[in-house]
Amino acid sequence: MSTVVRPVWAGKPQPVVLLLKALAILVALTVVLFPFLMVISTSLSSAADVTAAGGYVLWPRSVTFEAYEQILSGGLVTRAILVTAAVTAVGTTISVASTVLAAWALSRPSFFQRPVLMFVLLTFLFSPGMIPLYLMVKQLGLLDSLWSLILPSAFSVFNMIVVRGFMMGIPQELVDSAKIDGAGELRILLRIILPLSRAVIAVVALFYAVGYWNSFFNAMLYIDDTSKWTLQLVLRTYVLQGSSLVEASTDSVTPPAQSIQMAVVMIAIIPILCAYPLVQRHLTKGVLTGAVKG
């Protein structure tokens, strides 16, 4: 390729090294992508095809959406999808709002800036522990309520530090000129700071949304009622526990609903696959702002 810029001092790489590097990259990509391929293919195959192939399909012989139709036509999985989507949407909104507001308030000089910042940062050093948190959630009457999946983890100090670090880098003159024009703190935040911080807020929103969508233990601890089960709990019960993991014999018959199980896995992955490309180019920036300036 002609556009390659290789520094002169690096010299020409040896063919052996090039070959090894290519091999390493190929292995890494295959190891990551192989399970995705297997799950997608199996979920798109008919039950007969899956059985004929011995349980797993690497490339579907014929594509059918039977499995998806079955799980989306009501019942436990459909319900779990709706519950998880609602928790993710409401939770992410609350989290991003509280994080951005706190980040802005703590990046401005005020009489409480130092003590409150201390109060917030100290939580890095200790966590309250599982049982005290459980008892607190119980005291607040949130057990078996979807709020228990949102409020305890709604505010992440790390994400606040990331956003605050970015906001501290915005030139002070912008804020000053808005102040002179008579804008209050909230208006400055909404009109000037937010549009400038869109990238870092997108990354933080992705972190929060993925956290809510993927969280599993919170639901296991706080939720009993199966009608409030989240997708991850359903996945655990029907995919992990319902198949080979608990089977003793090694040459057991493959579970007939293999393609349905894989379809549930796909449903849990698809939203992440959709959101990922949107923020992917900002990821490095978001992670590093926090790491460097925090």
């Binding site: 050093l125 599982m130 709604a154 993927n214 233990f217 080979s244």
Partner: protein
């Protein structure tokens, strides 16, 4: 809108103080603003930070006080404050419980194994990605390798089960070839290696971000100068690349050591039933099964409290060690 004319141009206070300091060499005390005026000035900011403070109070600080239950004989359905005090009996019960010590040993073993097996992988991957000259290839590799980080543990464990489980794809091939099949997922003796493999699959790619940034920050002229001085590829790596990323390596090592008692709670609890508690019981799962499931609330909290305190000591000690080694550490020396 009324335009308020400032009585003084903004910023002169600071300038005046600075000028005064220059003239006399003595610090002039800061201008004191009455409390009422400060409150009137800053209340919009206070309202903005309020939701975060309330959330942290409710779900970090107040539960933290709940740790006093470790010194009580707590039973559910009796209010916490009416529970009888139990002194240190919960701790003695804990220290005489063999299951607790087994959990401690398992936790430390898993940390040690992951330190050896997982920790170097992101560094190696970052060096590999950094050495790619085609930008498009680099972008593709990065996008693919970051992706698993965003999957839940339920899905990652599911993936491993589909590939390596007894009915999984690898064993199907082995069976077709008439070779003895293995069920790695239910094998207690290799469970800790399996955990490391899963962590590598999920997070090794994601871990490269910070090393890639450190590699990109190394000045190219250093490589050039080293090459002119006759350093080969290995010499440049040893004398330029490695010193360039050493602070980050030390920092992440400290963070990991400070977190030594937390080892992938969700990951382990998902697989505990498959391999049994003998191999898979760690401190966090002990707190959950012994405390929440079996109802030993007070000893469970005692175990959690010990974990928290040891963790606090570890992170402070690791940070101190970093300062002594001349590295920056997690927070600046003050």
């Amino acid at each position: 809108m009324t335009v308020r004319t400032p009585t003084r141009p903004p910023g002169t206070g600071v300038l005046r103080r600075a000028a005064a300091r220059r003239d006399t060499g003595a610090a002039i005390p800061r201008r004191t603003v009455p409390w009422a005026q400060r409150l009137r000035r800053d209340y919009p900011l206070a309202l903005m930070v309020a939701p975060a403070v309330i959330l942290l109070l409710l779900f970090v600080y107040v539960p933290l006080l709940g740790n006093v239950i470790a010194f009580m004989d707590y039973q559910p359905y009796i209010p916490i404050l009416q529970s009888p005090w139990a002194g240190l009996s919960n701790f003695t019960a804990l220290f005489t419980d063999a299951a607790f010590w087994a959990a401690v040993v398992n936790t430390l073993e898993i940390t040690a194994i992951q330190l050896v097996l997982f920790f170097p992988v992101p560094i190696a991957l970052a060096l590999l990605i950094h050495s790619l000259v085609w930008p498009w290839l680099r972008a593709v590799v990065q996008s693919v390798l970051y992706l698993p980080h965003f999957l839940s543990w339920v899905i990652v464990v599911g993936f491993f089960q589909q590939s390596l489980g007894s009915a999984g794809i690898i064993n199907r091939w082995l069976r077709e070839l008439d070779i003895h099949t293995i069920n790695i997922l239910a094998e207690p003796s290799t469970f800790k290696l399996l955990l490391s493999a899963q962590v590598i699959w999920k997070d090794a790619g994601w871990g490269t971000i910070i090393f890639l940034a450190a590699l990109a920050a190394i000045d190219d002229s250093l490589y050039e100068a080293a090459a002119i001085d006759g350093a080969g590829a290995w010499g440049r790596f040893w004398h330029v690349t490695l010193p360039g990323i050493r602070p980050i390596i030390v920092l992440l090592l400290i963070l990991r050591l400070g977190d030594a008692l937390s080892v992938g709670f969700e990951q382990i609890i998902l697989q505990r039933s498959a391999v049994g508690p003998g191999a898979a019981e760690v401190l966090d799962t002990y707190v959950y099964y012994h405390g929440v499931i079996d109802g030993n609330w007070s000893t469970g909290i005692a175990a959690g409290l010990i974990k928290g305190l040891v963790g606090l000591v570890l992170i402070l000690a690791a940070n101190k060690a970093a300062h002594m080694l001349g590295e920056q550490g997690v927070y600046a020396k003050s």
